[in-house]
């Protein structure tokens, strides 16, 4: 019975702490986590499609650049890339600003934390998205591309009317995986000071000494975000692949 009343006490403490303002802070943390993930995914989509195009190119030089990109950014720890962009970026920005005299010789120009973070996570996400796009492009039926050429479509028309819709359709399941990876990577940019879910949970845990409570809550919230995205991507997949599933 003592155990139960103890548990009850734990719950009421948790409730008080969350109601005292940490709950709202955590909700903001979710908003920032989603913002970081969405922006990183978009940066990754642009980079990923360029890298995929490079990897599929006939030119050896471009292929080498594409291969190197995916090898490096999938092979390095995410945290290292984030440090590199955030602290390295700060060093570069400061150096440039000092040499042009826009700041004093002892001043420091910080890399904006959101920008540095989403660039780093976006670049990593781009490496994974490049693989997804490349695989999807290779899965397009060659004859359909040939038909587009035979009907006089320019390279741009073929890209817009045949390649993009088909790559998107084939890429949806793979992009769902990258989205989950990117949500998890977004936790790492807490080191740059973006008040996303991880950093908020950290602050709450330290200032209230309720680590178990706040990390558990944050863990549940991450799980909710990743699990909600699964059915959304499944629905998107059903929609985009409707031409391959029998009509009812």
């Amino acid at each position: 019975m003592e155990f139960l009343s103890d548990l009850q006490a734990q719950f009421s403490t948790a409730y008080e702490l969350l109601a005292a303002g940490w709950g709202v802070q955590l909700l903001w943390g979710i908003a920032w986590t989603l913002a970081v993930t969405v922006v990183s995914m978009l940066i990754g989509a642009v980079l990923g499609s360029l890298v995929a195009a490079a990897k599929l190119s006939h030119r050896g030089g471009l292929r080498f650049i594409g291969e190197s990109y995916t090898t490096v950014f999938r092979g390095e720890p995410e945290l290292l890339v984030i440090y590199l962009f955030y602290y390295g970026g700060t060093q570069v920005l400061t150096g440039v600003a000092r040499s042009t005299g826009s700041i004093g010789s002892t001043d420091i120009l910080n890399m904006p934390s959101f920008l540095g973070g989403v660039l780093a996570v976006g670049i990593i996400s781009g490496a994974y998205q490049a693989e997804v796009f490349r695989g999807s492009f290779l899965a397009i039926h060659r004859g359909e591309l040939e038909a587009a050429r035979a009907y006089g479509m320019s390279a741009w028309l073929r890209f817009r009317l045949v390649i993009v819709p088909q790559v998107l359709r084939l890429a949806v399941p793979g992009l769902g995986n990258v989205w989950q990876l990117t949500i998890k990577d977004s936790a790492l940019i807490s080191v740059t000071g973006v008040a996303e879910l991880m950093l908020t949970a950290n602050k709450a845990a330290r200032s209230t000494h309720h680590s178990l409570l706040f990390y558990t809550v944050a863990g549940i919230l991450y799980l909710v975000m990743t699990s909600i995205s699964t059915p959304i991507f499944e629905k998107a997949e059903r929609y985009t692949s409707r031409s391959f599933t029998r009509p009812k």
Partner: protein, 271 residues
């Protein structure tokens, strides 16, 4: 020079008399293997030319060289009298000099493929209007109207909102022929249009092709359908090992095969 001769000379050079397709001395290698060893062909308006040959004879490659899906190593291709301009690339291979010209000419040469190659993410109707609206830049409403009429003609109007993978091979190929017709092409190129079909579906496709021939369309048809070659086409061309073995009117060709190779070829079919 009498007036008659002058008139005849003028008629000979008038646009009506220009060959719809003129191919001269086409050569093409894949690696060390020479697939086309100097092929020439002329198709006039209204001609239906069946191109026969065993597999590996180069017939599909020849057809694909006409719309530059394959780049010939040498030789010239004219469409409606217009020469497709070629240039040497840095590695010494021939390539189209002006891709815009190639795209414009391709739009006049609608191709029907062995494996249909309909765009699988578009409905049948969208397949028919995609190229006319985007390549020929015709108004969408007009294209839709024409597309519906063409689908009625090939007998699959009820399937206009289906996606190609949901239809039978015969229906897909008829949709592909309608897609070709939607371009109002000067010449239609058929690359073994019935070879991928189940035997019971061949008839419906051949019926459509026969009706096109009857309305005077210019068609180059690479095929294994001896019946079509004999009864529908105006000319038969037999390729053997990358060369034109024999050309002639179908009734002569089939009644008295001009070469032992062609005789052997039709004998194998009649077995």
């Amino acid at each position: 020079m009498s007036a008659n001769v002058a008139a005849a000379a003028q008629a000979a050079s008038s646009p009506d008399d220009k060959a719809a397709i003129s191919v001269k001395n086409l050569r093409k290698c894949f690696g060390d293997h020479e697939v086309l060893k100097g092929i020439s062909l002329e198709a006039h308006k209204g001609d239906v030319i069946s191109i026969l040959g065993s597999s590996g004879s180069g017939k599909s490659t020849m057809l694909r060289c006409i719309n530059l899906l394959e780049t010939p190593d040498s030789g010239e291709v004219r469409v409606d009298g217009e020469l497709i301009k070629m240039k040497q690339s840095r590695d010494g291979r021939q390539m189209p000099a002006d891709i815009r010209q190639v795209e414009r000419i391709r739009a006049n040469l609608a191709m029907v493929f062995q494996s249909f190659n309909l765009w699988s993410h578009m409905t049948v109707l969208e397949n028919l209007v995609a190229a006319p609206t985007h390549v020929l830049k015709r108004p969408r409403a007009e294209c839709l109207e024409q597309a519906e009429a063409l689908l009625k003609r090939v007998g699959i109007w009820e399937r206009r909102n289906y996606y190609p993978p949901h239809m039978s091979g015969g229906q897909q190929q008829r949709a592909a022929i309608a897609r070709a017709l939607a371009m109002n092409p000067k010449v239609m190129l058929f690359d073994e249009p019935t070879s991928a079909l189940d035997p019971e579906l061949v008839g419906e496709v051949l019926r459509v092709m026969r009706s096109l021939a009857e309305e005077g369309r210019t068609m180059l048809v690479v095929t294994h359908e001896m019946g079509f070659a004999r009864d529908v086409s105006s000319k038969v061309m037999f390729l053997h090992k990358g060369e034109v073995d024999s050309v002639g009117e179908p009734k002569d060709m089939f009644a008295r095969p001009p070469t032992p190779q062609f005789k052997q070829f039709i004998a194998n079919f009649n077995k």
